[in-house]
């Protein structure tokens, strides 16, 4: 594998379910240290694209490269941390502590037949420290609030020290106040630890203020680029591809809303 700072490279991805086109000619590149917000309305193909990147789905056409190599030969899953939608992640009464859940993020890094050690426990505690949840390590996961659970899932994704965090609408079911502190924590992770982030969401105001790069998807990519260029897009342009009227909150309005 040659040296590259490209983390995800999608080339002309098209995906069809039977005869309906879910994604058409999508090309995108995420590089080291970038924070991408992938935005689009419901049914725009965001989840399909994510499943393709995660290797859960094979695209009908196009190629994917992860860390500079083809996805089919990619074996370093621990370099990617994944956080799914909280709502469908687990059974709320599952008997497991926060520490057990976070430690499970090391499963594939350890490899088959190896048992967890004291050091693995310490790593899990360190990851919980990053998301400011270390005090909760002995609590049952079901006893936490939605926002706290989502922080625990981020810690599980961080424990293997990934270069990329992929998140699928991580704030679904979390109240507004916690959503904001959640996003600022993501921003810190990206800035202070240099972790690349690909965040899929249909909330376009808060995330787009924090992301360094933005991609607008509605079956095909309508815009992708740096935050400053996204800001230049008019609301009517945004509404055009989004499919319904969109009003953008600007920085000051967002701060006022807080």
């Amino acid at each position: 594998m040659y040296m590259t700072n490209s983390i995800i490279k999608l080339d002309h991805i098209t995906h069809k379910y039977h005869h309906s086109v879910a994604l058409s000619d999508v090309s995108l590149e995420v590089k080291q240290g970038e924070f991408w917000a992938l935005i689009g309305p419901n049914g725009s193909g965001k989840s399909t694209l994510l499943r393709i990147i995660l290797g859960l789905l094979k695209p009908t056409e196009g190629t994917i490269q992860l860390f500079g190599g083809p996805i089919d030969s990619f074996k370093q899953q621990q370099r990617i941390g994944y956080v799914s939608q909280k709502s469908n992640a687990f059974t709320t009464r599952f008997p497991a502590t926060v520490l057990e859940v976070v430690r499970s993020g090391l499963t594939s890094k350890k490899g088959l037949f190896k048992r967890f050690t004291k050091e693995d426990e310490q790593r899990a505690l360190d990851a919980l420290q990053v998301v400011k949840m270390a005090d909760y390590h002995g609590k049952s996961i079901g006893d936490l609030s939605g926002g706290q659970q989502q922080r625990v899932f981020i810690a599980r994704a961080l424990v293997s020290k990934p270069d990329l965090l992929i998140m699928d609408e991580p704030t679904v079911g979390i109240d507004r106040q916690n959503v904001e502190s959640f996003y600022s924590m993501l921003s810190e992770l990206n800035r202070d630890y240099g972790i690349a982030i690909l965040l899929v969401t249909h909330e376009i105001d808060l995330v787009t203020q924090l992301a360094t790069h933005i991609a607008c998807l509605n079956r095909t990519i309508h815009f992708h680029g740096v935050h400053a260029d996204y800001e230049k897009m008019s609301e009517s342009e945004l509404s055009g591809w989004y499919g319904h009227p969109v009003r953008r909150l600007h920085q000051k309005e967002t701060e006022r809303a807080r």
Binding site: K75, Q78, S84, R93, P95, E100, T107, L112, F113, R115
Partner: protein, 276 residues
């Protein structure tokens, strides 16, 4: 009873097998329950019934089978059933749970045919259906011991993978865990535990020993490890009380073990309600 245990080999076999099953059935049961697969053990035990009935029928017809322990065919049928369930779950991707009633009814169907063909089996079959204190042979005990070693090694070395798959299967798949192979191995192990347990608790009640102690344990445990420990403690209590009462009352241990498990569960639920 203690004196009798030292005197009679059949009692030693029953008690030792019971204690081993009280350990492995709830241990594996926890992984089954949290994955919402509790009905699978029921389906597999009915497939084991077909194997046992088949073996008992063939033993009347063919000399070779007369010398063969019916547990082997019962266990073999359960293993085949477990692999068929896995296959069917993939065929009916959108209706995965269909695999269970298909295999369960196939098991009962074949069982009924063999039982009718043989014009009934009398006490032999009743022993397999509800368990027996007196029918556990030394050979049965060795089979149980061997299976226990396999099960404990499996759970010990694949604990973290099984936990991940149980807690969040999608995350487990994304993180590169080979779900297909681990799931297939898990099903085979489940079939083996059912095979091992049926002599003591009986085919019809074996799945209860895998689920009832776990149902009580998850009411109390905050951690997965805690749930595992509670499950085993409740399983062992049920087996010990169940075997003692079966011995003194001269009834099938399957019934007494399972009814004790039900009482444990009720006590735990009551205690939790009082505490809340």
């Amino acid at each position: 009873m203690i004196e009798a245990i030292f005197t009679y080999e059949f009692l030693q076999n029953a008690v030792l097998s019971g204690l081993i099953i009280g350990l492995i059935a709830p241990m594996l049961g926890l992984f089954i329950v949290v994955r919402r697969m509790a009905m699978i053990s029921d389906a597999l035990s009915h497939v084991a019934l077909a194997g046992i009935a088949g073996s008992l029928y063939l033993s009347q017809q063919v000399l070779f089978f007369a010398a063969l322990n019916p547990v082997y065919l019962g266990m073999g049928a359960a293993v085949v059933g477990s692999l068929l369930i896995e296959r069917l779950r993939r065929v009916y991707r959108s209706f995965e749970e269909l695999a269970i009633p298909i295999i369960l009814s196939a098991g009962i169907g074949f069982g009924a045919i063999f039982i009718s063909l043989a014009k009934g089996f009398g006490t032999d079959l009743v022993g397999y259906l509800f368990g027996s204190v007196s029918a556990v042979s030394r050979q049965d005990l060795y089979i149980v011991l061997l299976i226990a070693i396999i099960v404990i090694a499996f759970l010990y070395f694949l604990y973290k993978e099984l936990f991940s798959l149980a807690f969040d299967p999608e995350y487990a798949r994304v993180s590169g865990i080979n779900e297909r192979i681990i799931q297939a191995a898990f099903m085979v192990i489940t079939a083996l535990v059912i095979g091992a347990s049926m002599r003591i608790v009986g085919i019809l009640l074996v799945s209860s020993l895998m689920t009832l102690p776990v149902a009580a344990a998850i009411q109390l445990a905050k951690s997965y490890k805690g749930a595992l420990v509670y499950s085993v403690i409740f399983g062992e209590i049920a087996v010990i009380i169940g075997l003692i009462s079966a011995y003194y009352l001269d009834i099938a241990p399957g019934g007494t073990i399972v009814v004790t498990s039900v009482f444990i569960l009720l006590i735990v639920l009551f205690w939790k309600k009082v505490r809340a």
